[in-house]
Symmetry: C2
DNA sequence: CCGTATCCATTCCGATACTG
DNA sequence: CAGTATCGGAATGGATACGG
C-alpha cells in the first residue's frame, strides 16, 4: 500500500470521521457557499473559483455522503440544483467556528464584517465553550479528553 | 501555473484563511491530539499513526503558523515539546464543532462517549447557533450571509 | 449553460533507511 | 527517541477540449 491514503472513515473518533467526509478545502468552501444560498454548479464555480472537474468530483462525493441532494430545476430540464440536506445544514456550526477563528487570527486589521442570518438580518453570536452545567471555559484552561457518558 | 494549488491565505474570507492554515486532515488531528495533552513527536506519531516525514513537515508548518511553539524538555537535551499557543488552543471550538457533527452524523449507533474537560471532569456542552441578541437558530432555518458590522 | 473527459504538473503520503 | 532524506505511487488541481 504505497502512497495510498489512510481511510479515516472507520476511525474510532468523531473528528476523524468528520474529516474523512469534509476534511478538505474545497468541500468546506462549497458548503459555505451553499449555506449562503448557492445551489447551481456555475454559482459555485464562479464564487469559489475552482476548476470544473474538481467541483464536479467534489459535488459527487458530497452527494454520496448525503450532504447535498440533487433536485430538478423547473426552469429547464437537465438543470439541477444542489440542495443541502439536514446533515449539510448542521455544518453551519463548524463554519461559524472556522469563521470565528479566522477572524480572530488571520486578519491583522479587525474585520468589519461578520456572519449573519439573512432572514432576520441579525449577526450570529460568537460560540463559546461550556461545560454541560453551563459554566464557560476559557480555551486556555481546557484540556480536552474523551470520556464515557453517564446514563 | 499548471497543477499548483490556489493560495487561500489572502482570500477575503475568514473561513478560507482558516483553511489555508489548518485545512487538512493531519493538521487537525495533530491539534486534536495536542488539545488532549500530547506534546512529543512520538506521542503524535503513535496516537495518530501517520508517517514520520509527514508529521515532521506538518509540525514545521504549524510552528510557522504559530499554532505551536517549541519548548525544551528538561528530561534530556535535543528533546523538545510542541506546545499549543493561544491561537492553537482557540481551535478547541472548531474541534468541538467537528466532534459534534461527526457524533451526530457518522456513527450509526449512538456514541457512548464524548468530549470533556479533564480538570473538572465535566462533559462539554453542545454548541448551538444563536443570533447576537441571544435567540437560538435551528440550522435548518439559517441562511448564512456576510454582513457589515454596526458600530 | 451543465457538466464530463483527458492531459499533465504538483503535491501528498507511506515505507524505509539513515543520522545524532 | 527525534527527527531528516529519499523514493515511488497515489491523489489533487488547473487548463482545456468536448458533448448534451
Amino acid at each position: 500500500m504505497r502512497g495510498s491514503k489512510t481511510d479515516l472513515a472507520q476511525a474510532d473518533c468523531a473528528i476523524a470521521r468528520s474529516l474523512s467526509i469534509i476534511g478538505d478545502w474545497w468541500s468546506l468552501l462549497i458548503i459555505r457557499d451553499a449555506l449562503g444560498g448557492s445551489q447551481r454548479f456555475s454559482e459555485f464555480q464562479k464564487n469559489i473559483g475552482l476548476a470544473k472537474n474538481i467541483l464536479s468530483s467534489r459535488l459527487r462525493k458530497l452527494v454520496q455522503s448525503e450532504i447535498f441532494t440533487i433536485e430538478d430545476d423547473h426552469s429547464s430540464p437537465s438543470v439541477h440544483r444542489y440542495v443541502l440536506t439536514g446533515r449539510g445544514k448542521q455544518l453551519a456550526v463548524v463554519m461559524l467556528a472556522l469563521w470565528q477563528w479566522g477572524e480572530d487570527n488571520c486578519f491583522p486589521g479587525k474585520l468589519d464584517y461578520g456572519l449573519a442570518d439573512e432572514a432576520s438580518g441579525k449577526m450570529l453570536a460568537r460560540m463559546e465553550l461550556e461545560t454541560a452545567d453551563g459554566r464557560r471555559i476559557d480555551p486556555h484552561d481546557l484540556r480536552m479528553v474523551v470520556k464515557m457518558k453517564r446514563k
